[in-house]
């Protein structure tokens, strides 16, 4: 499966990655080869008999009890942010 430049641009935008026009051909080629590998797997005659794998390790989730175990570290975490005011993380205005 081949990928066109418009698709690469769109994926880059969804992932919030800045991609220069000059990089598009190489990226399209690389992503196309990744998809070709997936196509090859899908085409393998016995692949459908295998249960889809959710996780590479054969293990189930470990659960914790419903207990509040966290203490308040708000000041430390807020201090890490580029900008914080009034105990809020501040970001450029987002308006829907």
């Amino acid at each position: 499966m081949s990928i066109d430049h418009a698709t690469v641009r769109r994926i880059a935008r969804l992932a919030r990655i800045a991609v220069a026009e000059a990089e598009l051909p190489a990226l399209a080629d690389e992503l196309g080869r990744v998809l070709a590998l997936a196509d090859a797997l899908a085409a393998a005659s016995d692949a459908h008999a295998v249960e889809p794998m959710a996780h590479p390790h054969a293990q189930a989730l470990r659960w914790r009890d419903d207990v509040v175990s966290e203490t308040d570290h708000a000041d430390e975490w807020l201090a890490l942010a580029p900008e914080a005011r009034a105990d809020l993380y501040v970001v450029p205005k987002v308006i829907e």
Binding site: L14, R16, P52, A54, H55, H57, Q59, A60, L61, R62, W63, R64, D65, D66, V67, V68, S69, E70, D72, H73, A74, W77, L78, L80, E83, R85, A86, D87, L88, Y89, V90, V91, P92, K93, V94, I95, E96
Partner: protein, 513 residues
Amino acid sequence: MSSSALNPQPAALGTWQAVIGLEIHAQLNTASKLFSGAATAYGAAPNRQAAALDVALPGTLPVPNRAARDKAIRFGLAIGARIAEQSIFARKNYFYPDLPKGYQISQYERPIVSDGRLPVRLDDGRVIEVAIQRAHLEEDAGKSLHDAFHAASGIDFNRAGVPLLEIVSAPVLHSAQEAVAYLRAVHTLVRWLGICDGNLQEGSFRCDANVSVRPAGSSVLGTRTEIKNVNSFRFVEKAIEYEIERQIRVLENGERVVQETRLYDAAHHRTRPLRGKEEAEDYRYFPDPDLPPIVVTAAEIEAIRATLSELPHARRRRYVETLGLPEADAAQLCADKATADYYEALCAARPGPAKPGADANPAGGREWAKLCANWVLGELAAALNAAELPIEATRVTAPALAGLLARLADGTISGRIAKEVFAAMWAGEGDAETIIAARGLAQISDDGALAAAIDAVLAEFPSQVQDYRRGNDKLLQFFVGQTMKRLRGQAHPQRLNALLREKLGSRAEGRGL
């Protein structure tokens, strides 16, 4: 329950059929978050309940909360759904400042609950079965505050990571009224099961509606829009109604409905576009590599099933079929578990007769059940409303109210006096017996006392007695009134009537008239 009478279907709907599916987000009432040990309590100061994981600091890993899983299973069992022995958490990728990881942990393929159904009673008494396609676990996002700062938004991550159960109905609802009835039924159920507090104002129960319209008789779904931002049952109903009418207008003008997310604006009763769906929809789900599959054993499912009590629709049916309550009473009593349980306790707390010789069962079981229903839905509900108290905080307990109703049922007091006694009980003056005795409110049904009063009245009004005996039957009420007045309203009305007729009649015979 709702305003179907006030909101008639638009006339144009005749040639169109609305198709509605709801996505309900019920916040699971756990103490800690879905993947961190931070508290979930509502109303804390900003960011004080956000752990390193919730603000997505590097190096943190999610550890899931068993109680959230068990509450999801509880819901699944209550709607007769399939509980997946193995389900998986997936990452739903999108970019927004209140989602610091860049993805929400949710479920996509293999949700924990699928293929359930819920009986829903409509306002007109019809019951429909609504198919619930799935219910899955996911974490909530943080909260953006757009008005906090000039030219900047503030983010509070206290809500980030709070467990949600997203309940997705099939597109099987065909009017705003059906959608709201279903929404209310889910609201009742999650509170009944004790898995969600159902508080709409605080956002612990939210709903998005997918609405489309198609020509009546068609089996192809039309293009749908999604309405967000509705936080009351009334607004859900109005928003869906508006959206159905808008789509019909668009189609009848020969235009096409655009697939998009729309916000409901309650102030102007309209919906407006939020954003085009094409790009936002591209969530690039994939299984979360940080979280192995959720495995639930049959034994764990059975252990949860064993803790389920009678469900609201079953209880409603029992009240109608076994207790003989009217449908509307049963539905109102079963709207929340605390009320239904109070009613249950009240019915069961019927004390024995107080007076020797009184009929041990003066009212049949069904009459008692109906009397109890009347009082829970009438006097008690009014008192709770006035005091702005939930029924859990009632000042008159079920056994106490049973004591009062027993005196009403056996004729010790009248309905009017019972209300007075109830008010005194509510004010904390003691139990019914104490108040009746202290205020001398017991009805006089002793024939000797009644007869003496009647004789005095008949002696006082000889000309009226003559008129009555000449055939003016209406005067009986006059004698009843005068005797009641003499006895300060405490005469047992049926007994008084019978004695009066007897005396007026017997004298007449005595005089040979």
